[in-house]
């Protein structure tokens, strides 16, 4: 055991040395996207639906089960340039479920998919919003939203972080998440009620779950972890814990939407 570890460490040191000598690997492809017209976007979308949708979702919004990320946000962990995205689509991402596109696909097709993905990023300039963002910020402060939501590290933990919600949701979706929170509740925000063997009950937002275990955050922001086999029963409540914005006027909702839509990462 110790021997193995020893060899492992010296190998690591050697590799460090070799990498050093070789210098950083530079990607060979680095060019501008030649296929970025509207028709390219549409063609890219068709291929995307057929080949990528099963993991990323037909609307490219991502899928928790497959681990395929949302591609509509304009923020990419692995593809901050067009050329970088081209390589990700062409070659895949080593050691992940992200496999490269079929080798039969032409470079043109790959560039068209890049154009399609780029088109999904919401541009605030494309929208003419009735509300006013500065007033919306005041509504936000007055309506106790921050007891559940964080913006820039400030606020509560029993709702999604809204720091960049404007690049995730479009104005219609923002409005409906305010007026009709129950319409679409992601599993992360379901409530799980754990009835324990000793008769007590713990309830909280579903942070993470697998076949045998579940982890939740209770309303006091405490973390809990349970083996399902230790629980007497488990209930899932799929409605939202967010109160509908009933006592806000229509124009206050408009202002809130304008404010929330302005929350995006400066690039």
């Amino acid at each position: 055991m110790r021997k193995v570890l020893f060899v492992g460490l010296s190998q690591a040191a050697l590799v460090a040395a070799l990498v050093l000598v070789a210098g950083p690997a530079t990607p060979a492809r680095a060019q501008e996207n030649p296929f970025d017209t509207l028709i390219d976007v549409r063609m890219g979308e068709r291929v995307f639906r057929a080949q990528c949708g099963r993991c990323h979702g037909r609307d490219a919004r991502g899928n928790d089960e497959t681990g395929a990320p949302d591609l509509t946000t304009g923020q990419f962990a692995r593809a901050s340039t067009d050329a970088g995205m081209f390589s990700v689509i062409r070659d895949g991402i080593e050691n992940t479920a992200m496999i490269g596109i079929s080798p039969r696909a032409s470079d043109q097709t790959v560039w068209q998919i890049v154009s399609y993905i780029n088109s999904l990023n919401l541009d605030p300039g494309d929208y003419d919003l009735p509300g006013d963002a500065a007033r919306g910020e005041q509504v936000y402060a007055g309506a106790d939203c921050s007891s559940c939501h964080m913006i820039g590290g400030e606020g509560g933990r029993t709702g999604p972080d809204l720091s960049t919600v404007g690049s995730r949701l479009d104005p219609d979706e923002l409005a409906s998440s305010l007026t009709d929170p129950d319409a679409e509740v992601a599993p992360r925000w379901w409530t799980v009620r754990v009835n324990r063997a000793d008769g007590s009950t713990v309830e909280g937002l579903r942070m993470n779950e697998d076949t045998f275990t579940v982890r939740i955050m209770d309303s006091d922001e405490n973390l809990w972890s349970f083996m399902k086999s230790d629980a007497r029963s488990l209930e899932r409540i799929k409605t939202s814990t967010m109160p509908a914005a009933e006592n806000l006027t229509g124009s206050e909702v408009d202002d809130l939407v304008a404010y929330l839509f302005s929350l995006r990462r400066e690039s």
Binding site: F6, L9, A13, V19, L20, D210, F226, M227
Partner: protein, 416 residues
């Protein structure tokens, strides 16, 4: 390297009857105050910072596992790191929650009793990173309810410990100029002390302090003196500008002396010393900085004018030991250059220095701890065999000191 990484899974081993930190499944995670960090040794069930305690002893006070029952350990859980790359992290354990960093610059919060995930933070990285030695991260620091992490694009980020939400994100240095960050920060009062990597890419190293609450920088101390500062003349011409001397392993802190101790890496370029003639201060050194403002209080250079890539990137271990009949506040350091050193940590005075692994480059150390070099050991086009190798007698691997045995333990490379 790849093969190595593939088999790396973080495993938790426990005795069959082991008691877990939270018997009833929670609630867990109390805020980690500065008071708790100061007294981290009193919470052996936790591991609250990179080296366990501020004095970096890396000694566990837990007694349940020992040499007579270690053979009975059985696998309790395994957590598989999804991203296959370097795994050189030290997880933190805080009240039953384990924080593990992963390549490239991600962190997960796990239930320490089951290895199951609470949340994950994936840091977005640009495509044009410049990193010498693998995509790597060595761990987080915690203060209050916030984690602090270095990222490969040379940012420092603050992350909410309960949710993984991003709290702040501060650029430390431009990654396109060769800067990157891998080391776990060190908390000193309300400051996040954090180093820099990139010694192979012509950077000028430094150590930074950021305000934990806001991410604003309090101070920066360069590890290479500027033109008006003493020591700058130890670099030929303008070579100080790109001389490396990075700070990529977490240091230590002495609250009584209010001194921050940090090691520095190799001067650059690594093996080509003619372009940077001189001692090249403060590369391959340990620096003692004022905990308030980062002023340099003393330094000790292990390898003047290094030409073998022997970074002084080791964890400084602080201990109080008997030396020549009196108790001394010392620092213990097995260096990559294959010598072990004991220094007085109040003054930087050299007390003891001896080889601990095979070395052929120095006849010994003089009374100030400066190496007496064997002539003609420079790298050459024909090749020159020298011990230790560029990997060093040891490297960044954590040593430890046991107050029980009074012994210092270190992983080393020594040819048979």
């Amino acid at each position: 390297m790849k093969r190595l990484a593939t088999v790396f899974v973080l495993t938790a081993l426990a005795l069959p009857a082991a008691v877990t930190a939270q018997d009833d499944g929670g609630p867990s995670l109390r805020p980690v105050t500065w008071e708790r960090l100061l007294n981290a040794a009193d919470e052996p069930e936790n591991w609250l910072m990179y080296s366990g305690t501020l004095d970096s002893k890396r000694y566990s006070g837990l007694e349940q596992i020992h040499n007579r029952n270690v053979g009975n350990l059985e696998l309790k859980w395994a957590y598989q790191i999804p991203e296959i790359d370097r795994a050189e992290t030290t997880p933190l354990v805080v009240d039953g929650v384990m924080f593990v960093t992963e390549a490239p610059s991600n962190v997960v919060a796990l239930d320490a009793a089951t290895g199951r995930q609470y949340w994950r933070y994936n840091h977005e990285l640009p495509d044009d990173l410049r990193i010498c030695c693998g995509r790597n991260n060595r761990g987080v620091a915690i203060l209050g309810e916030t984690l602090f992490m270095s990222t490969l694009d040379a940012h420092t980020v603050a992350i909410d410990a309960r949710t993984g939400n991003l709290v702040w994100n501060t650029e430390t240095a431009p990654h396109a100029s060769g800067y990157s960050k891998t080391a776990a920060p060190l908390i000193v009062k309300d400051q996040v002390i954090t180093g820099i990597a990139g010694g192979e890419y012509g950077i000028r190293g430094f150590l930074d302090s950021y305000d934990a609450a806001s991410g604003a920088r309090n101070w920066r101390t360069y590890t290479i003196p500027g033109p008006d500062e003493p020591g700058n003349q130890t670099w030929l011409g303008e070579s100080w500008r790109t001389g490396g001397s990075p700070t990529w392993i977490t240091g230590a802190y002495d609250p009584d002396l209010d001194l921050v101790y940090w090691g520095t890496g190799n001067p650059g370029p690594d093996w080509n010393g003619e372009v940077r003639l001189g001692d090249n201060l403060y590369s391959d050194s340990v620096l003692a900085l004022d905990g308030e403002n980062g002023n340099l209080e003393w330094y000790f250079q292990f390898t003047p004018h290094d030409i073998h890539d022997w970074d002084a990137i080791q964890v400084p271990i602080l201990g109080d030991i008997r030396y020549e009949g009196e108790m001394r506040r010392v620092m213990m350091w097995a260096n990559r250059n294959a010598f072990y050193y004991t220094l007085d940590r109040e003054t930087g005075e050299f007390l003891v220095g001896k080889p601990y692994a095979l070395q052929t480059w120095a006849e010994g150390l003089d009374e100030n701890g400066r190496p007496i070099r064997v002539p003609n050991m420079e790298p050459s086009p024909e090749g020159k065999l020298v011990s230790p190798t560029i990997g060093g007698g040891t490297n960044w691997w954590s040593p430890t000191f046991s107050p029980r045995t009074g012994l210092y333990y270190v992983n080393l490379l020594h040819p048979r």
